[in-house]
């Protein structure tokens, strides 16, 4: 009988992770997942902005087919009544559940996260989400601001919590229910951080002393960059701490010291996210479902951290479009753990030493629009057919292609001397 699916999607996370070779970041829990997964090093979003990217990979269609390039249309009304990936799993006997930010909220998901089409029960949104852009960041003068860089004392936050902490708690609650009911589930968990504001528990700053933080390797606007290609990072400029710097439009630059503070807080937010993922995967162990649950870990797009003199996403640069993408498939990317053994024990980024290499790695250039057909194939469902040239009238098809065949580590991707793999099961 098909495996469960735990689909983790992170807002604005570029591959700043140990398993993607970043030497500075502390991401032990995501690295532990990667150590038992197939990791794609060259995965790209179809558009580097939230709603269009999410609607694209959740329907398996490109933006020119969803006709969503902004935030203000719902594909079923505006372009075509395309089935979504969760809807397809729901139609194939799965209980489908959404926690946190999976679809972008608002018009683009019909103010309902596309419920009831995509989800079996009304999607969960953390109550703390509504305070996300409030003045909750304490400035040097002790007053509260709506800053970009926003390390906080969680106990001082409204409700004494943060959205991603609430999302993890709800996801764990649902895992326990699914375990009891013994129902096959597709649980999507959408984390908000490191999307701005970079608001995270202040203790994570300890992991990244400012003296260890450098500028981007190329913090200047390239000479031959066409002006149309440049993203003037307007949302960053609107934050109180950036506004106070009076930076010129459109090219800035931000003061070096502040650039390093942004980068420091992005890293801290990634480690905060890693703790949430660690708690969630630890709970999967606790309910004994790690051996029959596929775990997908990805993001909706990347984020510029000063490269090319840019911040945020909103461009076609690699730093804005490249995302982490990994698939944990018990019995395929890793041998099932012996009964009762833990697969994802929680690892504390404040004390955990050492990294872990991905189990399998592919350098192949792949796209988020391929996640839908890939996950269908991994779960043993019929793979949706390829879309015809024009597919506005086609309810179920995909403009991506399944990348399961890349799970074999082929000749040109193995290091010298390692035996090429032509049998996925044997290899893993």
């Amino acid at each position: 009988d098909g495996m469960n699916v735990l689909f983790i999607v992170v807002d604005d996370l570029r591959p700043i992770l140990g398993c993607y070779g970043d030497k500075l970041v502390k991401s032990p829990n995501i690295d532990q997942l990667a150590a038992q997964s197939m990791v794609f090093s060259n995965a790209y979003a179809q558009q580097a902005v939230c709603a269009p990217s999410r609607v694209s990979f959740l329907t398996g269609r490109r933006p020119d087919t969803t006709r969503l390039y902004d935030f203000y249309s719902y594909w079923r009304v505006h372009a075509g009544n395309y089935s979504t990936m969760p809807q397809y799993f729901k139609e194939n006997g799965y209980v489908t559940l959404s926690v946190g930010k999976v679809f972008h909220p608002g018009v683009s998901s019909n103010y309902s996260d596309d419920y009831p089409y995509s989800w079996s029960i009304p999607p969960f949104h953390p109550s703390a989400e509504k305070f996300e852009n409030d003045k909750t960041c304490r400035g040097k003068d002790g007053k509260l601001y709506a800053n970009l860089v926003c390390p906080v004392n969680v106990t001082e936050m409204p409700g004494g919590t943060l959205p991603d902490i609430q999302s993890t708690e709800e996801a764990i609650r649902l895992l326990n229910i699914m375990k009891t009911n013994r129902q096959k589930f597709f649980l999507a968990v959408g984390y908000h951080k490191p999307h701005i504001p970079l608001r995270y528990p202040q203790e994570f700053l300890k992991l990244y002393p400012l003296e260890n933080i450098t500028l981007a390797p190329d913090p200047w606007v390239p000479k031959k960059l066409p002006s149309v290609a440049y993203n003037p990072w307007m949302d960053v400029r609107q934050r109180d701490d950036v506004k106070a710097l009076n930076v010129s439009f459109p090219y800035g630059p931000l003061p070096d010291d502040f650039q390093r503070q942004i980068r420091q807080s992005y890293y801290a937010a990634v480690s905060y996210l890693d703790v949430q993922v660690g708690r969630l995967l630890n709970a999967l162990d606790n309910v004994g479902l790690s051996n029959n649950t596929i775990v997908v870990f990805t993001a909706d797009h990347g984020w510029s951290l000063g490269e090319h003199g840019e911040w945020a996403k909103y461009s076609n640069f690699d730093v804005a479009t490249r995302v982490p993408l990994m698939f944990y498939v018990p019995g395929m990317t890793t041998f099932p753990a012996s009964q009762g053994a833990r697969v994802f024990p929680y690892l504390d980024p404040f004390s955990h030493i050492g990294g872990s290499a991905p189990q399998g790695q592919s350098e192949k250039v792949v796209e988020l629009v391929s996640v839908f057909p890939t996950l269908a194939e991994l779960a043993g469902l019929q793979v949706p057919p390829a879309c015809p040239e024009t597919s506005f009238g086609v309810v179920l098809c995909t403009e991506g292609t399944s990348i399961v065949h890349y799970f074999n580590v082929s000749e040109e991707e193995t290091e010298e001397g390692k035996e090429a793999c032509d049998d996925t099961d044997r290899c893993f």
Partner: protein
């Protein structure tokens, strides 16, 4: 063909940065940047776009970018104007 390719795109309201360049509403989109990524290069053409017909006019190219992964992994040296790329335009089409 076998080569693995990833396509991205991004809309713009104008050729030069303005307050809504990051997130233009559909009605304000005038240019679409289509990117094609392979293991060897990144090729982008910024072409005229009509938000009413949703048509991109690849004959009306506003600007282009070409970066070679091996020699310029950070995409800092745009060689679009120095290289012949007619075949790339055909390919992205």
């Amino acid at each position: 063909n076998e080569e693995a390719v990833a396509f991205s795109q991004y809309p713009r309201p104008a050729d030069t940065p303005q307050w809504n360049s990051d997130k233009p509403k559909l009605k304000d989109i005038r240019i679409m940047g289509y990117s094609m990524r392979t293991a060897d290069y990144r090729y982008t053409v910024w072409v005229q776009f009509d938000p009413n017909s949703f048509r991109a006019d690849f004959k009306d190219v506003h600007a282009g970018e070409l970066y070679m992964v091996e020699t310029d992994p950070n995409q800092d040296y745009n060689i679009y104007k120095n290289a012949s790329h007619g075949w790339l335009l055909k390919k992205i089409l």
